[in-house]
Each structure stands twice: as C-alpha cells, then as structure tokens.
C-alpha cells in the first residue's frame, strides 16, 4: 500500500514536470529555450514516471512466487531509464547544435532591459521578437 502510494506520487511528479515542459515548449520565445524546456523537463518526467511504474512492480516483493519476474521487470524498466538518461541528453545536445548551425538565433534582451521596464522605443529588433516573454517579465 505504501509502495503503491509512493509510486503514484512519483508518477504525479512526473506529470507535473511534463506539464512544465509542455508549457515551456509552447511559450518560450526562441528555439534554444524551447529546447531547454523539452530536453530537461521531458527527460526528468519520463524518468520519474517509469521509475514510479518500476516501483509499483516491486509492490509484493514478499511473495516468493511473483518476486523473481517482478524484479526482472523492474530491472528492465531501470534499463529503459538508463537508456533514456543517456539518449535524451545526447539527442538534445545534437539537436541544439544542429539548430545553432541551422541559423537559429537566441533571443537576447538588451542590457538593462531584462527586468527594468525601459522606454519602449529603445528596444531593438531582438527585443521585439521577445514580445511574448517581456510582458510576462514586467513587474
């Protein structure tokens, strides 16, 4: 019962992180920050959800009948976790590199404009691209 509760908690945490990744991939202004949200949030939420299900497989470890296959299944899930831990980070790195060489520019707000509400006419073209996020970041 406790193990079921713990695994449900892990899965829900994974869903929360995935919600964050989803919001990030929709709302962030440029390719690299979207990549950041997708790469990190996606990996962590996947790991948490699969870890939750792996924990759930171990719920009746006391029974001698079911324990061997349950441990094997949980180990296989750990293999998936290890694989995704390597693969997701690597593909994120490769995609970010390809995106940089493909000509994507990071959106950089000019100096002193990031948090402080400067006069709007001093904004550059880069800040105009940033319109979505600036109205979020204004106090």
């Amino acid at each position: 019962m406790v193990i079921s509760f713990l695994s449900a908690l892990l899965i829900l945490a994974g869903l929360v992180f995935f919600l964050g990744a989803g919001v990030g991939i929709l709302r962030f202004p440029d390719f690299f920050s979207r990549m950041h949200a997708a790469g990190k949030g996606d990996t962590l939420s996947t790991l948490l959800i699969i870890a939750g299900f792996a924990l759930y497989q171990m719920r009746d470890l006391g029974d001698s009948e079911a324990s061997v296959s349950a441990v094997l299944v949980a180990l296989k899930m750990l293999v998936i976790i290890a694989f995704l831990y390597i693969a997701s980070a690597t593909s994120t790195s490769a995609l970010a590199e390809a995106g940089w060489e493909d000509g994507n520019d990071p959106v950089i707000a000019p100096k002193h404009e990031n948090r402080l509400a400067g006069p709007p006419e001093s904004r550059t073209a880069a800040a105009d691209l940033n319109r979505n996020s600036t109205h979020d970041s204004q106090p």
């Binding site: 694989f83 390597i86 693969a87 980070a89 690597t90 790195s93």
Partner: protein
C-alpha cells in the same frame, strides 16, 4: 487544374469507400468474420492458429509460429523481396570508381574516412564528440538487445524482422556517431551483401533440408531425426528459430545497405 482533378478523384473515392464502411463489422467485435469465421461456415483460420499453435510447435507466441511455420512460403518470399530491394538500391545508386581514380586522390581520402576518434582536423571530430561518446555506450547495448529480440521471438513479441531492424539501427547509429567509415569498418560492404544473401540461403536451405527427409518444403517437423529433439513439435520450434535467424541477417544488412547507399548517393564516403 491538377489539384482540382486530385480533389475530385479523392472525394469520389472517399465517398465510395465510406459507403462501403457500413458493411464492415463493428470495431472490437470478437465474433466478426475475420475473428471467428462466418456463422454456419467453417471456423476462422485465426481461431485454428490460436488453438493449435502450442500443440503443433510448442511456441507460445502465435504470431511467430504463424509467420515462420504456417505461412512460411509467404515469409520466405517477403525476405527475398527485401534482399531484392537491397540489390536494387545497390544497382541503382552505387558508384564504383576505377582503381587509378582512387589512387590519384588517395591522400585526401584519409580526411573522409571518419574514424571513431577525432582524427580529422577541420572541426568535424569536435562535433562528433558528444554523440560519439554516447553511442559508444548505446551501440553495444542496442546490438545485445537486437540479439535478445531475435532469440526471444518464441516466448515474447519479437523475431527476425524486429530484431533485424534493431540490429540494423545499431549500425546506422554507429554511422551517425562516427562517420560512415567507422560503421563500414565493422560491417564491410562485401560482408553485408554476403550476409543478406546468406540469410535467404539459410531460410531456403532449412526448407530444402526437409525435402531431403521426404517431406514438404519448409516442413520443419521432418528435422526431428536430424536435431534429435524426440518429437516433431520441438523440431518445428527449432526450425522456426533457424528461419528467424536467416530473416534477421537479411533485414539487418539490407537496412544498413539502404542507409549507407542513400545517405551518400552511392559513394559510401562521407555522408551524414
């Protein structure tokens, strides 16, 4: 004009198809004609497969048994089709240079060979560091997993086609990580062509072997005397495994051949 014609054709075809949809069985109906046969007629072949597969072959996975035993002819020639596709891509795309042309540019060739390590000088190696290091971990695991899928076609979902695709993917990953030269160093071109042919040869050879025991082509039960299994069922199980090995060889090498030829326009140099 063309788009208008396409739209009219698509609308007419779609209307005809949708008109016929009502005669189809309900989604998920366990007693629809494909699932249990027509009422009053004979029982559906799928029901026969489900009920008799374990008795006939001792293979729990019905899909594997139907694929390699009941429908063995079909799979044999599907494998032949895959081999033919590999040969066709080779014949269409492959550019073979004469030896003196190669020698005249021999000094530059070293830059394109793309060894796994950072051998080249123009920044290419730096780009491959992250992916190369990760793939050095992932590729052996992927190959192990491919063999596992091939070997576990009997008790779990798997078999020659799936395992072959995973094995071929591992070689493609090797080519992506360290350059095509790195992958071709592991699986040379003459080797993968031979491997593709060997796969079909193994499949057809197992079938022919049962002809020698005065049985039908691809009737693996005839091999029980040869394999000392003490029963035709286990002989069929082993025969299915041998056939799956052949399929896996062909699929692996053809997948890699397709990637190698398509990504380099038949040059087998440079590439992605």
């Amino acid at each position: 004009m063309q788009k208008l014609f396409a739209t009219i054709a698509v609308i007419i075809t779609g209307a005809i198809l949708l008109n016929a949809v009502e005669d189809f069985p309900r989604f998920g109906d366990p007693h629809s004609p494909p699932n249990s046969g027509v009422s009053g007629g004979s029982v559906s072949s799928s029901v026969h497969y489900l009920q008799n597969t374990y008795l006939d072959t001792r293979v729990p996975n019905v899909v594997t048994a139907v694929l390699a035993d009941y429908r063995g002819y079909d799979t044999l020639f599907e494998t032949a089709v895959i081999l033919t596709a590999g040969i066709a891509v080779f014949a269409i795309l492959r550019v073979v240079r004469r030896k003196d042309e190669e020698e005249s540019t021999g000094s530059e060739e070293k830059a394109c060979s793309g060894e796994f390590s950072t051998s080249d000088s123009d920044g290419e190696g730096r780009h491959r560091v992250v992916v190369g290091t990760a793939c050095r971990v992932v590729v052996p695991l992927a190959q192990l997993f491919g063999f596992y899928i091939i070997a576990h076609g009997h008790p779990s979902p798997g078999g020659g086609f799936q395992g072959g695709v995973v094995l071929g993917t591992s070689f493609i990953l090797l080519a992506l990580a360290g350059g095509l030269g790195s992958a071709l160093g592991r699986l040379r071109e003459d080797m993968y062509l031979r491997l593709a042919c060997l796969g079909v040869f193994i499949y057809a050879g197992i079938g022919l072997l049962s002809l020698f025991f005065r049985r039908n082509f691809l009737d693996y039960g005839a091999l029980s005397g040869l394999l000392q299994t003490g029963g035709e069922e286990m002989a069929r199980s082993h025969g299915i495994f041998g056939v799956e090995l052949g399929v896996a060889m062909t699929v692996t090498s053809v997948m890699f051949a397709l990637f190698a030829n398509l990504s380099t326009r038949g040059e087998l140099k440079g590439g992605l």
